[in-house]
């Protein structure tokens, strides 16, 4: 689904974050990318989204080299991704409106995009995320969890095949966060999505990631990967396997073993 080959990336005037970095994600996998702030994990996501370009090497998604954001990649950020002047319904419809604006040109929207079922898709995803009663509210009137539900609905309404998330649940309180993690993962499995979630919280990485990419201190060269296949159920948080995984992640992060 996604292959990064020989990536080299540095922000202007800063030491490089990625040097000859290669990483590959197979279709249908659920990944967590874990690391402290400033380690370059958000940068990696921006590279995967096509919002940043590597100085060397390339990122291939679904077999094609990325030159710009790709219509079937969804991106959800921690906050501020919603239009404050648009209602929940208008926000959920935004991606579809943009596709209608350009038409199915294959560049901004998939060539097989069907414009006529947009309203039904918006209704469906409002319903699935449980925000249909809030359809006419504005983002400023919503709780953090409701805002993220709106952002998720907006992204899933575009029928993505790859979902990139940058700290999507970090500003939420624990019960809201855990409920939304499970709902998001359930929906992603239904849609057979490939998921990459970036987080600084090791509990979140341990719960979400079937495979975990650990980023320590940059520059990153060889990916450090932890395999953690498990079911996405609330009960998993109470198993010894989960506890052991958290302990391992904490230890590795503290030891910076992956740098």
């Amino acid at each position: 689904m996604l292959e990064a080959c020989g990536l080299h990336f540095a922000y202007a005037g800063r030491p490089p974050l990625f040097v000859e970095f290669s990483w590959s994600v197979a279709a249908g996998e659920t990944w967590a990318v874990l690391g402290p702030s400033g380690c370059g994990k958000s940068t990696l996501l921006m590279l995967a989204a096509g919002l940043l370009r590597p100085q060397q090497g390339d990122v291939r998604v679904a077999g094609a080299t990325l030159h710009r954001p790709r219509p079937r990649t969804g991106l959800i950020l921690q906050e501020y991704g919603l239009l404050p002047w648009a209602t929940v319904r208008q926000n959920v419809a935004l991606g579809l409106d943009i596709r209608r604006f350009y038409g199915p040109d294959g560049r901004h929207a998939p060539q097989d995009e069907r414009l006529e079922d947009h309203a039904a898709r918006v209704d469906y995803w409002l319903e699935r995320l449980g925000i249909a009663p809030l359809a006419d509210a504005y983002p400023a009137q919503l709780s953090g969890g409701e805002r993220q539900r709106t952002a998720i609905a907006r992204t899933l309404a575009l029928n993505p095949d790859l979902l990139l998330m940058d700290e999507p649940f970090s500003s939420l309180d624990a019960p809201t966060r855990e409920a939304l993690q499970i709902l998001t993962l359930t929906l992603c499995r239904e849609q057979q999505l490939t998921v990459i979630l970036v987080t600084h919280a090791l509990e979140e990485a341990a719960f979400v990631g079937q495979r975990i990419l650990l980023l320590g201190r940059p520059p990153h060269h060889v990916p450090c990967i932890i395999e953690a296949p498990h079911p996405h159920e609330a009960a998993y948080r109470h198993t010894p396997a989960y506890q052991a995984l958290c302990a391992e992640l904490r230890e590795r992060l503290e030891a910076e073993e992956c740098s």
């Binding site: 921006m46 989204a49 919002l51 954001p69 219509p71 990649t73 969804g74 991106l75 959800i76 950020l77 921690q78 906050e79 501020y80 991704g81 919603l82 239009l83 404050p84 002047w85 648009a86 209602t87 935004l94 991606g95 409106d97 943009i98 596709r99 604006f101 350009y102 901004h108 929207a109 504005y138 400023a140 009137q141 952002a151 907006r154 992204t155 575009l158 990139l164």
Partner: protein, 251 residues
């Protein structure tokens, strides 16, 4: 102004008229006719020329506001989006913004001659900078996260403009217009002193300083105030329609 209720404005107006009537009745001088006389003069004069003067003024104000928005809003959006462009333009704006452009009236009139153009240009010059600065700052204040996530939904430059920058700067444009109305109407008076025979500025000056017809002069002032007030209300109504999101009701 948005949270001022229309009914309260009317009540305040009534109170002011009452006070005026009282002072005029006590003073008994031609310089201060009572509002009752001014209003009857106003009503009598509207079909006999005052209406046409008001229309000429309305046309000039609306035309200059429209031109200023059309020129300043896109430029403000461009400057707000591009740090590099803004770095180039900011020092010029900084220098040109505070120049009292009213003082340039004779120059503008000399350069552009008689007719509508110099009057509209004079008002335009002032509104242009006010709108430019407000729109630029509102476009620059858009969070990069918002732009990134809308780009990730497939938006290129055109869609970003249509779905993000344009709606984001709308409140700033309306605020700028509202702030400009007072200035524009005041400028109107100055602009209409020169080389015209139509407009409220001309009407007020003619009746006040040449004909010494004070009730008619006050009727002109009343018409000018109503013009400003009407524009205020129009912008308020537009803002309430277009920017409902700005006053979210707490849940």
């Amino acid at each position: 102004m948005t949270d001022v209720r229309r009914r309260d404005v009317l009540l305040a107006l009534l109170a002011l008229l009452l006070l005026w009537q009282l002072v005029a009745a006590l003073a008994q001088i031609p310089l201060l006719p009572p509002p009752s006389l001014v209003v009857t003069t106003f009503v009598r004069e509207v079909p006999r020329g005052l209406g046409r003067h008001a229309l000429a003024s309305l046309y000039r104000v609306v035309a200059s506001i429209a031109l200023a928005v059309l020129a300043a809003a896109p430029l403000g959006l461009a400057l707000g989006q591009s740090v590099r462009l803004n770095r180039l333009a900011a020092p010029f704006i900084y220098l040109l913004y505070p120049i009292p452009k009213v003082a340039l009236a004779p120059i503008v009139l000399l350069l552009l001659g008689v007719g509508e153009l110099p009057k509209i240009v004079l008002i335009f010059l002032i509104l242009f900078f006010q709108i430019l600065v407000l729109v630029r700052d509102s476009a620059a204040a858009i969070r990069p996260e918002l732009v990134l996530s809308v780009r990730s939904l497939g938006a290129g430059r055109r869609a970003l403009f249509r779905f993000v920058y344009l709606p984001a700067s709308l409140p700033a444009v309306l605020t700028a217009i509202r702030q400009s109305i007072g200035t524009a109407v005041a400028l109107l008076y100055v602009a209409e002193l020169f080389a015209t025979r139509w407009g409220l500025g001309y009407y007020i000056y003619l009746n006040g300083s040449t004909l010494f017809n004070y009730p008619a002069m006050y009727a002109g002032v009343l018409a000018m105030s109503l013009l400003g007030l009407g524009l205020y209300f129009a912008v308020d109504a537009l803002e309430q329609r277009l920017c409902r999101w700005q006053a979210p009701s707490p849940r």
